[in-house]
Amino acid sequence: MVQQLALFSAIEDESYPLSVETLTILSSNRPRLFANFNKIYKPNPSLQIEKVNAKNQLVEQTRVKLSTAVPLSKLGNGAELNYHFMEKLSNDDIESFNVKSYIQDIDSNNKTNWAFQISDIPAAGNNRKLSSQTIHESVIQSSSGSVSSFIDELGYVNDFQYINVGVKFQFLSGVVMEIYKVWQVVQKDQEVSMKLITKDGFMIKAMYNVNKSTDIESLNNGSQLLLKLKTDLRDYIELDIPDRKCMDTRLNHLD
């Protein structure tokens, strides 16, 4: 279990090179390119899970997320990639990336390592300066069949899927910053298509993870670090706390 403190923002495409430069200096670390493929599952509606006392939220159906790293060699079709790669990605498709063959590939082999994640809605409160969310995550070591049959046995079905590609900055203090783009992956019959969600820009996330939600000292320290970063970047990148409802992974009870 991890308690994640986070702040978010967004920048337009043109600001990317300067932002990378700025964060490289601030973090004194080079940007690291990353790409993740995420599959979101929801509880199988045919199981007719009783919505007991749904108003008091006693039975809550939560989505789960499986994610795996897309190998950079696949992403760039063998080419050596660095953070400049992101500068060319403003379309619905990533030119060098064959999403169809990638998905067929991970569906057909069982060697992909998946991280299994369930997260709570971020903590409520009017005076919060940052989002504080409980996240449970673990790596699936092995499953008897494919990962989809495993998740099926747990009683979950496909909801939607997306890919995020971006760069990551590791600060010495423990803060991590990400600049990334998000693509929705739509699978229709045999066709796979991608749709760019973050049009004309990048998402920015600054976060600090604390292993125990009871470790108040580390939480305070993390909050201070993030708020300091917010102050340092103010008037350039305005980091903000998002609406907690947007980070809620629960199914809408009114469905």
Binding site: S9, I11, K199
Partner: protein, 215 residues
């Protein structure tokens, strides 16, 4: 029976207070300086006790203001020294001493409060001078010597600082020996006014990532 002035109770009779000899000008000047100083001192204290420390330059500016207010106060005290020394404060007979004993002892107190005594003692100990055994002239001489050392140290610091270049791309040594044109040295730190803008709503993207709601 007629009342003679000697029979009247001094506590009951209304004695018209005579303010003519009160050094209002001096007291009012001091009151203003004191209130300025206490205001800025309490501001510093508030800022220091906050969880988030203020920027160092804010603190420094605040401190400079406070120090100049302090020196202005000492100047005023110095200016009115004679008047104030010759002034004696006393309570009027009509003052309700029993009801407000605490107030009058506070107002009339001449002795320093223990805290202040502690500060004075501390200052005397840290200056390294044996105030009791030295004569005034000797102390003055020592203070002057201290001032000389201070100005010598300041001069040294300025000399040393002049030997280095704190802006630009070259050291002072390089600029002198390699005769570099000043225009090549045009790197100055600047405040950037570049600002990013959000091309989409962060909340909507988060909503998609967590709930799959496309827009």
């Amino acid at each position: 029976m007629t009342d003679t002035p000697s029979n009247t109770d001094p506590l009951q009779s209304a004695i018209a207070p005579d303010f003519s000899s009160v050094p209002t000008q001096a007291l009012d000047a001091l009151r203003m300086k004191f209130s300025q100083l206490t205001a800025s001192l309490s501001k510093i204290r508030d800022e220091m006790s906050r969880a988030e420390l203020p920027q160092w330059y804010t603190l420094q500016a605040q401190l400079t203001v406070t120090l100049s207010q302090l020196s202005s106060l000492t100047n005023t005290l110095d200016h009115y020294e004679e008047t104030l020394d010759a002034t004696v404060a006393y309570p009027l007979p009509s003052f309700p001493t029993t009801a407000h004993e605490g107030l009058i002892t506070t107002l009339m107190r001449k002795k320093n409060i223990p805290e202040v005594d502690e500060w004075i003692k501390d200052a005397k100990e840290t200056n390294g001078l044996d105030v009791d055994s030295l004569s005034d002239a000797e102390i003055k001489k020592l203070i002057n010597k201290d001032k000389d050392i201070t100005s010598w140290a300041t001069k040294c610091l300025l000399d040393e600082r002049a030997k280095h270049s704190y802006t630009g791309l070259y050291t002072t040594k390089e600029r002198q020996t390699e005769s570099i044109d000043d225009r090549d040295n045009l790197y100055t730190s600047s405040v950037s006014n570049v600002k990013t803008s959000r091309p989409f709503s962060v909340d909507k993207v988060l909503k998609f990532v967590n709930q799959g709601e496309s827009y």
